[in-house]
């Protein structure tokens, strides 16, 4: 079994009035199947309210399983006795770095998790050092988190999750509040963790450019998985994505439009290099 396996996952948000009568039911997850192998880099796309965050919160057992089944690292999430194991296997990083940092010194913040689960002191320091090094923040270990930039804070938050030695990290729009530099820093750190440490990554994002480096992409709409495949497969469906209130990266869009004009350009171009090559080839053919 892969690290994450979901079958027919359903989640409903129910709003009740003062007497407890049901006012409205919103189906946030509707029969979701998900299969993730250890070491994969998965991106999840979808418009606001499509169910991405609800799915993420199930993987970390923040939301209680209502219907369907979910296994994380082999643990059945519906079994209450597994909750701590699930949370240790799958760490989570949220959108706003300011809501996730609690200590007044960077290294204490990163050490908070392992200390909580009773890791011996020597090992805590070892883990803190390794985690901060992995995200390129070791030299800030003695700094105060509130003097850091958004990208740096977010990397400290990732280090905090990393210190728990999870097999999988779920990141829910980790770059939404960052400037272009901060976004690059965080993306780079996440890709390195995936490549060098084999940590499984689930990245939820609205930035299409961040998706091109993923192994596979899931696209969600109204609680359902409506598309899945490699970034190339998904981004060749420009029109369908637009209907889902999504986009494709600008380079992919440019390639798509040129193709529509009759130029011999392959489908689902993702990078500048690919498009440059295609255009050079066309120019050489005259």
């Amino acid at each position: 079994m892969g690290i994450i396996k979901a079958r027919k996952l359903v989640h409903e948000y129910i709003r009740r009035d003062e007497e407890g009568n049901v006012e409205a039911i919103q189906t946030a997850l509707d029969q979701v199947d998900l299969d993730v192998e250890q070491g994969e880099f998965i991106a999840i796309l979808g418009h606001n309210g499509s169910g991405k965050s609800t799915l993420a919160k199930h993987i970390n057992a923040i939301l209680e399983l209502e219907e369907g089944s979910l296994w994380v690292d082999g643990y059945d999430v519906s079994d209450d006795t597994n909750i701590w194991n699930v949370r240790q296997s799958a760490g989570m990083v949220f959108q706003n770095p300011d809501n996730q940092i609690i200590a007044s010194v960077v290294e204490e913040d990163v050490g908070f998790g392992p200390e909580n689960i009773g890791v011996p002191t020597d090992e805590i320091w070892q883990r803190v050092e390794n985690s901060l090094r992995s995200v390129g923040m070791l030299k800030y270990r003695a700094h105060s988190p509130n003097k850091l930039s958004g990208g740096q804070k977010q990397r400290v938050a990732i280090a905090g999750v990393l210190a728990m030695q999870p097999k999988c990290i779920v990141l829910d729009e980790p770059t939404a509040m960052l400037d272009p530099n901060g976004r690059k820093e965080v993306l780079k750190a996440v890709h390195e963790l995936n490549r060098e440490k084999g940590v499984t990554i689930l990245l939820i994002t609205h930035y299409m450019e961040e998706v091109t480096g993923a192994d596979r992409v899931y696209v969600m709409d109204r609680g359902r998985v409506v598309m899945q495949g490699t970034p190339r497969e998904v981004f060749s469906k420009v029109e369908e994505l637009k209907k889902l209130r999504l986009d494709v990266p600008q380079i992919t869009l440019l390639a798509h439009e040129l193709r529509q004009e009759g130029l011999a350009i392959p489908q689902g171009v993702l990078t500048q290099e690919e498009l440059t090559e295609a255009i050079e080839q066309i120019c050489r053919s005259f």
Binding site: S50, G150, A176, P180, Q250, I251, L254, I279, C283
Partner: protein, 286 residues
């Protein structure tokens, strides 16, 4: 009508260990009816600058003139200025507080001293302008989606009928569909009502698509100021300060470096497509 900034300086924490000069000798003129993009990485002074424009922050030295009047004059109507220059902060939906959407939007005009009836008319117009359907008017603003909440918050500022609208990253955290809706509506208001717009954004692609002039801030100073095509010619310098040009512009410069004679001034997908087709047609002719 215009806003003139004359050698504006601002220092945070003057006289303390954390003293930092946020604005250095900033001189600018904003003409009536312009659509301006303000860019710069986190900490470059953008937010400090926009808070000067409606008098929320007072310059340490230098002058600001609104329609030729010195806003630091002792008998200048600062309250009046704040209704003429509307400021939409980042994540404005955090400032929603009333029990219904309609009341929330009425709050500003009522505060300006308008009657209930007049305020209601204003709210109606503003909500209509941002595309909130009438059947939602008497619902709680907290039951809306992220993009809708954002639009209600913007309507709250519009209802005060500002002459100048300043938006600090109005699309952060929204999906591509929500982003396009908000920016299209702002562009429409600019076009139809002649309202002056100052848009702060980290997304160069959005800036390229909508604005007529770009102001680049770096370390408290204005680094570039001009037409988008002109400013993005400095793509290397922009990259050096963590910004960069739209990805299609980078791509065209890449083609140019590889010896393909393309005009690299295009900053939108549409324009880039045109330039590439032009170049290929030229090659065919030879």
């Amino acid at each position: 009508m215009s806003i003139i900034l004359d050698k504006v300086n601002y220092v945070y924490g003057a006289g303390t260990a954390y003293e930092a000069q946020a604005l250095k000798n900033v001189s600018l003129k904003i003409e009536d009816g312009e659509f301006i993009g303000l860019i710069g990485h986190t900490g470059s002074g953008k937010s400090t600058l926009i808070q000067h424009l409606n008098g929320l922050i007072r310059a340490a030295s230098g002058g600001i003139y609104y329609n030729g009047e010195d806003i630091y004059d002792r008998d200048y109507d600062m309250r009046g200025l704040r209704s003429k220059v509307g400021l939409v902060f980042q994540y404005p939906e955090h400032q929603l507080f009333e029990t219904t959407i309609f009341e929330d939007v009425c709050f500003g005009p009522l505060n300006q001293g308008l009657s209930k009836k007049e305020a209601g008319v204003r709210a109606f117009e503003a909500l209509n302008c941002v595309g909130i359907p009438e059947e939602l008017y008497y619902q709680s603003p907290f039951d809306l989606s992220g993009g809708q909440k954002r639009r209600v918050a913007i309507a709250g500022v519009l209802a005060m009928k500002p002459e100048v609208l300043i938006l600090d990253e109005p699309t952060a955290g929204l999906d591509p569909g929500g982003r396009d809706e908000i920016l299209d509506q702002i562009a429409k208001m600019h076009r139809e009502q002649g309202i002056t717009v100052l848009l702060v954004s980290h997304c160069m692609e959005d800036i390229a698509k909508y604005v007529g002039r770009i102001i680049v801030m770096n370390q408290g100073e204005v680094l570039f100021d001009g037409a988008p095509e002109k400013v993005f010619e400095h793509y290397r310098e922009l990259e050096a300060i963590g910004l960069g040009a739209p990805s299609v512009t980078n791509f065209l410069h890449g083609l140019l470096e590889r010896g393909l004679p393309v005009n690299a001034r295009a900053i939108t997908v549409e324009a880039a497509k045109h330039e590439i087709l032009e170049m290929i047609a030229e090659r065919k002719r030879r």
